[in-house]
């Protein structure tokens, strides 16, 4: 029993690492400053096959597994989180639900372009009025003849407004269950459908080179065949999607936490104070040792959750633990890395300034830290 990577996993990790250092690191700061979506980087990631990493070859995928995706996300996030979350959302939230719950026609229609990175899909679950309490969905869809009529709005939807966005999958109330609860279903809404409006991008604290919008649906009509999966199963389907997404966010968090270590080790060796490199001082050494310890421990936690996921075993608790621990490690490491950098840690020109701004959302997105603690304690029978 060990967590050493196979030769192929190492080769994939190295390939993505090389790409991130050569193609992302030199240019991402400028995209970030301009709040611009990095189309050129996305195009290159598409060419490398990253958007199809865990999907089967018959749909243009690479035939890898979810762990392979996590390795790629970690290496991207070690350099930049906007790029990593763009890939994570495109696969976990965009392509995966269509692959897992779609009809053969829906798969044929959407997956080849999604796995090639030529098109992106968004996933509309969160609404302006609710987040963690996903059962509070207010968006409604009514079947009118052979069309769904969608009304409502969705908030914080990643990849929903790029030039490449081809569709958004939205959850909507489609009726009432026998027990009186809301019947929630998932419906595919193609970009450009009349009544579907993408609002201007948010002004975000971090992830500034990723694409996030509020979406509104005003008598938006799509064919009845755009129902994704079973009617009334929309909510259950997405719980699985979210469990997987948590492992991915944990991997992304580990990447950011490790990036903080990389940058701090480099800086501590260069920056001099009182006649020697600041890395000679134990106050800095111990800080960095603690950062490395957090990154390493968080990595083991997500490796274990991903291994269970790939093996088809229950992984809900492990995913929640990994996501909780890794995201808090990322926030702590970002804060400490900024401290190691002193005044330069507060400047956007140094990657750690970006890491600091990017870290906080990791404790919020795909289930807040409080939700993770709820999942863990429930799983313990409390």
């Amino acid at each position: 029993m060990d967590f050493r990577l196979t030769e192929e996993q190492r080769a994939l990790r190295d390939s993505v690492r090389e790409f991130a250092l050569e193609q992302v690191a030199p240019v991402i700061g400028e995209y970030y400053e301009r709040h611009a979506f990095p189309y050129e980087i996305v195009r290159q990631m598409g060419k490398m096959g990253l958007f199809g990493l865990p999907l089967p070859e018959e749909y243009g995928g690479m035939g890898g597994d979810y762990f392979a995706l996590c390795l790629a996300l970690e290496e991207l996030a070690r350099v930049d989180s906007s790029v990593a979350i763009t890939l994570e959302a495109a696969i976990s939230l965009g392509a995966m639900p269509i692959y897992r719950f779609g009809t053969p026609e829906q798969r044929e229609t959407w997956l080849p372009r999604l796995t090639a990175g030529e098109a992106l899909a968004g996933f509309g679950l969160t609404e302006p009025g609710f987040g963690s309490d996903a059962g509070g969905t207010a968006t409604r869809a009514v079947l009118d003849g052979d069309e769904w009529v969608v009304n409502g709005s969705k908030a914080f939807i990643t990849n929903s407004g790029t030039d490449l966005t081809a569709l958004v999958t939205v959850t909507a109330v489609t009726g009432v269950n026998p027990d009186g609860s809301k019947e929630i279903s998932a419906i595919i809404v193609p970009s450009g459908t009349p009544g579907f409006t993408v609002q201007p991008g948010y002004s975000k604290v971090g992830w500034c080179a990723s694409d996030t919008h509020e979406l509104t649906f005003d008598d938006c009509r799509v064919p009845a065949a755009n129902l994704l999966g079973e009617r009334g199963r929309g909510f259950a389907q997405f719980l699985r999607t979210l469990d997987e997404g948590r492992v991915a966010i944990a991997a992304l968090s580990v990447g950011l936490a490790q990036g903080c270590v990389d940058e701090s080790v480099k800086y501590a060796g260069q920056r001099r104070a009182f006649g020697r490199p600041i890395g000679d001082f134990q106050a800095i050494q111990f800080k960095i040792a603690d950062m490395e310890t957090r990154a390493y421990t968080a990595r083991l936690a997500y490796y274990d959750a991903a291994a269970r996921l790939v093996a088809g075993e229950p992984f809900k608790r492990q995913a929640a633990i990994a996501k909780l621990y890794a995201s808090e490690a990322a926030v702590t490491n970002a804060r400490e890395a900024a401290q190691v950098h002193g005044g330069y840690g507060f400047m956007n020109e140094f990657p750690v300034g970006r890491f600091y701004r990017d870290a906080k959302i990791l404790e919020i997105g795909e289930g807040t830290s409080e939700i993770q603690r709820m999942i863990i304690s429930r799983d313990l029978g409390l």
């Binding site: 192929e8 080769a11 390939s15 990253l50």
Partner: protein, 259 residues
């Protein structure tokens, strides 16, 4: 088109590199070894020609057993198979001997086109492409920044310090490339998985009919007699601007013949 790409494993030029203290050859043991950077451009060019014209791409590498790792990485970019010439007697081979071995291996592969990097970042002699062409009796189109294949004719834009020259030759030929020719792809996961199933054939000197004493340190036509570490960088010269700072900077640049 049957294309053979020459790939050499070298110590990472971004890390510290050394010569061995015992025989003054490149220290490959303690270094992090990678594909010679320029060779990645040669691989990419070969793959693009295959995509446009069909055919097969074979990687040919001469090096110690550890070079197999770089050969697998080259295969993960997309070539069809590889040949690895590995033999203890090859250790310390000079450029002349290297070209002898590679030429012998190439004859067994009968390529229409041999592609290679214009130089390796370890030896940097830049003569192997020319020597290979001479031994094979074919044209050497060296230092390409662009390569066009039109039927059996190869046309190359040959990069020079002032601009470029256009040269052509019929296939087969040896073409060496600079990093201006393309942008190499990164291995995809599919490529990585496929690479381990691709054929990697090893050849020893005996398979090529070359006596051991014609290669290696013993058969070398040149020898590194002595080597030493690069001296540590000196403190440089600080100019404090007392009104004449600009003039003194220009004087320095002029003295160093920069302006």
């Amino acid at each position: 088109m049957n294309i053979v790409v020459l790939v050499k494993q070298v110590p990472d030029s971004g890390a510290e590199r050394n010569l061995r203290s015992d025989d003054s050859t490149v220290d490959r043991g303690s270094a992090s070894n990678v594909i010679n950077e320029m060779d990645e451009y040669a691989i990419e060019e070969a793959l693009r020609i295959r995509e446009a014209h069909g055919g097969e791409v074979t990687v040919l590498s001469m090096g110690p057993a550890g070079a197999a790792e770089s050969i697998r990485k080259a295969l993960s970019m997309g070539p069809d198979g590889a040949v690895h010439v590995v033999d203890d007697a090859l250790h310390g081979s000079c450029a002349v001997a290297t070209s002898k071995v590679l030429a012998a291996a190439l004859r067994t592969l009968s390529p229409d086109l041999v592609l290679c990097g214009a130089e390796s970042t370890d030896g940097r002699v830049q003569v192997v492409p020319h020597m290979l062409a001479e031994r094979l009796g074919v044209a050497a189109l060296t230092g390409a920044r662009k390569l066009t294949v039109d039927g059996g004719t190869l046309t190359v834009e040959r990069q020079t310090e002032e601009g470029y020259e256009v040269v052509t030759a019929p296939a087969p030929a040896v073409v060496s490339v600079w990093d201006t020719i393309n942008e190499p792809r990164y291995p995809s996961f599919k490529g990585i998985m496929a690479a381990k199933k691709k054929p990697l054939r090893t050849l020893a000197l005996a398979d090529l009919g070359i006596p051991a004493d014609e290669v290696g340190l013993a058969g070398a036509t040149s020898a590194v007699v002595e080597h030493s570490q690069r001296p540590p960088r000196s403190g440089g010269q600080k100019i404090t601007d007392g009104g004449d700072g600009g003039v003194r900077l220009v004087e320095f640049l002029a003295a160093e013949k920069f302006v």
